[in-house]
Amino acid sequence: MALNSKIPTGELDKKWEEYKGHVKLVNPSNKRKLEIIIVGTGLAGASAAASLGELGYKVKAFCFQDSPRRAHSIAAQGGINAAKNYQNDGDSVYRLFYDTIKGGDYRARESNVHRLAEVSVNIIDQCVAQGVPFAREYGGLLSNRSFGGTQVQRTFYAAGQTGQQLLLGAYSALERQVALGNVTMYARHEMLDVVTIEGKARGIIARNLVSGELERHFGHAVLLCSGGYGNVFYLSTNAMGSNVTAAWKAHKKGAYFANPCFTQIHPTCIPVTGDHQSKLTLMSESLRNDGRIWVPIAKGDTRKASDIPEEERDYYLERRYPAFGNLVPRDVASRAAKERCDAGYGVGSSKMAVFLDFADAIVRYGKIEAGKQGLENVSKDRIVELGKEVVKEKYGNLFDMYAKITGENPYEVPMRIYPAVHYTMGGLWVDYELMTTVPGLYCLGEANFSDHGANRLGASALMQGLADGYFVVPYTIGNYLADEIRTTEIPTSHEAFEKTEAEVKERLDKLMGIKGTQTVESFHKRLGKIIWDKCGMARNEEGLKSAIEEVRALKKEFWSDVKIPGGINEFNSELDKAGRVADLIELGELMCTDALDRNESCGGHFREEYQTEDGEALRDDEHYKYVAAWAFKSEGKWELHKEDLIYENIKIAARSYK
């Protein structure tokens, strides 16, 4: 099937306006008869469910958590970008568009990204109207801050809890629609397959995670808003339950999976402490403004940081990248940390960590503060004391979180940090209307591939999730549903529902019937290790080839030796997890396949064979300026389809940080 991205013709900045002006509409009395299924209630899912409910569609929303308010969008810290130009610093829709394309290393679709920048301003208005308590200045107006990859201040925030506040805004709008009867909420439910009839998505099979029963749900359209697949790495900043299952089932029913190898590794996270570790916690990128990153010069040095004198420290980022120092881009900082630790210079009990040291910043700020206060002959201790106060004001909440997790006081000893998987740019392929290659099946938010290319900029994930749900899909879905007004509700006794439910049941039975000797968790850990080692921050042909073999072997072993306690028709977290891990294993193979196929380095995808002399990513625009969209053929077999990326408004150039 040839990919049709359905990009409207015309000038870039007129496309969305034109589209909205001519898109088909569904009249209110027909909307009442049309049912829409939404899977996932994070920013994309909750905003879509609320907005479509408001329009009068009959919406059914599903989440695996006990409440839609717990979706993992809630954990986003930093902020949300919008081209408001409230700071009068030269921001514009075009600049946000340009920064996003460039930040994505020229691997995103121009038309989608421009639309994202256009609607970004509406998102802030909508959220404020809902009562989202963004940070404000004393004059009562909204405050902004800077984020990576931009030269303007366009990030709106609510302390370090922006995701929480935005999600609670969307959640309250969703609950209002529940109260009005426009949305039916199914919490503790997990989608286990898409039902297609004559090629169109017509519903889902969901499992009630309390009773274990399988349920059939009909919909004229199905929206997947199920988040990213970072948990393929086992350890990530994702939530424990974050999974690829909904997207993967759709993929196996005909939805192409795009750019699976584009994953983002964030350089500053609290490191792994041992084999027991279940998840990783982010320490905001802003800390690199004041912290210096170092490891001991001597291999295997076990002394405390304070016992290692200055001349025995290797400030490796400053050494390798004198121009940017500690503020090199995320991917460079991540790879450099990995290189030092792999070479045996790591610190901490696991040796997989580097120091992020604020001692210099504390003294620097202390001196400035002493000067401000007009103090003379100040003792060194007093300077340090003053400096700590300044650092506390800037980063206090992060320092507290660090202390809680590690038990160490980062005002006294350097933080230990290490890169961690944070976000996945790849996802289900969608056209301009956010429809996948299966008619009637849409994909929104992190689960789709569309806006971030090979690398996402900070504070853009929240923007995309809400753009898709509040302002894009409410328009584009009408274009499809306008032709469905004559489709009456298909009874779930239809053979397609029968058959799909039988397949789901067979798989559950099969999982339970294995009765092997190894736990689901142990398989997940092993999968994570393979993918992290060979398809993580740096990849190469040999490693990827062996990873594919290892993942295949792991899949075989999983299906013959996994041990799942309990029964099917009951609350069984291990069974839930087994299904998710089985899907992540299959995705892992496709990720490595995609990474192997893309013989270039771009954004988060770093192939060691393709780098400049000084170790920078080397893109190959001549051969790889495309979206890799994979069609599922049979187990372990995919077919590659390419969507050429056409840049009519931006001149492609090498990203330079020097």
Binding site: S67, A135, Q164, I405, F471
Partner: protein, 254 residues
Amino acid sequence: MEHYSMNLNLRIWRQKNKNDKGGFADYKVEGISSEMSFLEMIDVLNERLILENTEPVAFDHDCREGICGSCSMYINGRPHGPWHETTTCQLHMRAFKDGDTIVVEPWRAKSFPVVKDLVVDRAAFDRIIQSGGYISVNTGNAVDANCIPIEKDKADKAFAAAACIGCGACVAACPNTSAMLFVSAKVSQLALLPQGGPERKTRVRNMVAQMDKEGFGSCTNIGACEAECPKGISLENIARMNREFTIASLLSED
């Protein structure tokens, strides 16, 4: 920080489903690192139970960074355990020492029925939000965000109230199982903001009515909710809700 390893005696509530009577079961875990989080310690136990052909302990958890509000363990008589302003997932094992006995129970409240083991049903909180915990503004209705200036002080207070994660520790901590802290946090957030003005009276009346309907107990100003809240939600919110409720009731036209 010095790390250490410990052996612990766990006494955990096991309950097959909501109809089962339930009871405590005792387990020993060995070699627990002080670096582990509390939930990772439970993970260790569960991995062992699975290999011993026993059902693992069911518990709610997701983000494991203190923000989703899923985790809900009552540890040694305190919701979320011994640390101040800390969720169970952020509680770390260095809070305990070798040989300790740790008692773990689910939230205990009539309005939060046990689903299985340590998992409870908190849908009552969602229904309270449905009764009025929102501002009625459809997508697309909004004016420019800076058309609504808000005093920084009020915005900050609204944010502090909005930091509630809906975990239910306040209910679990309260001898009366009152949900006043949870409800008042949402009422306060929206009452402090001008956008919340038009629905201010109906909101507080409806949310309080739903809270009562769900069977939560009365507030008798004990303050355990504030003391155990992992996000430090203040009792001031309850005082504010009481004022809001009184005004709404006195000025009620129906």
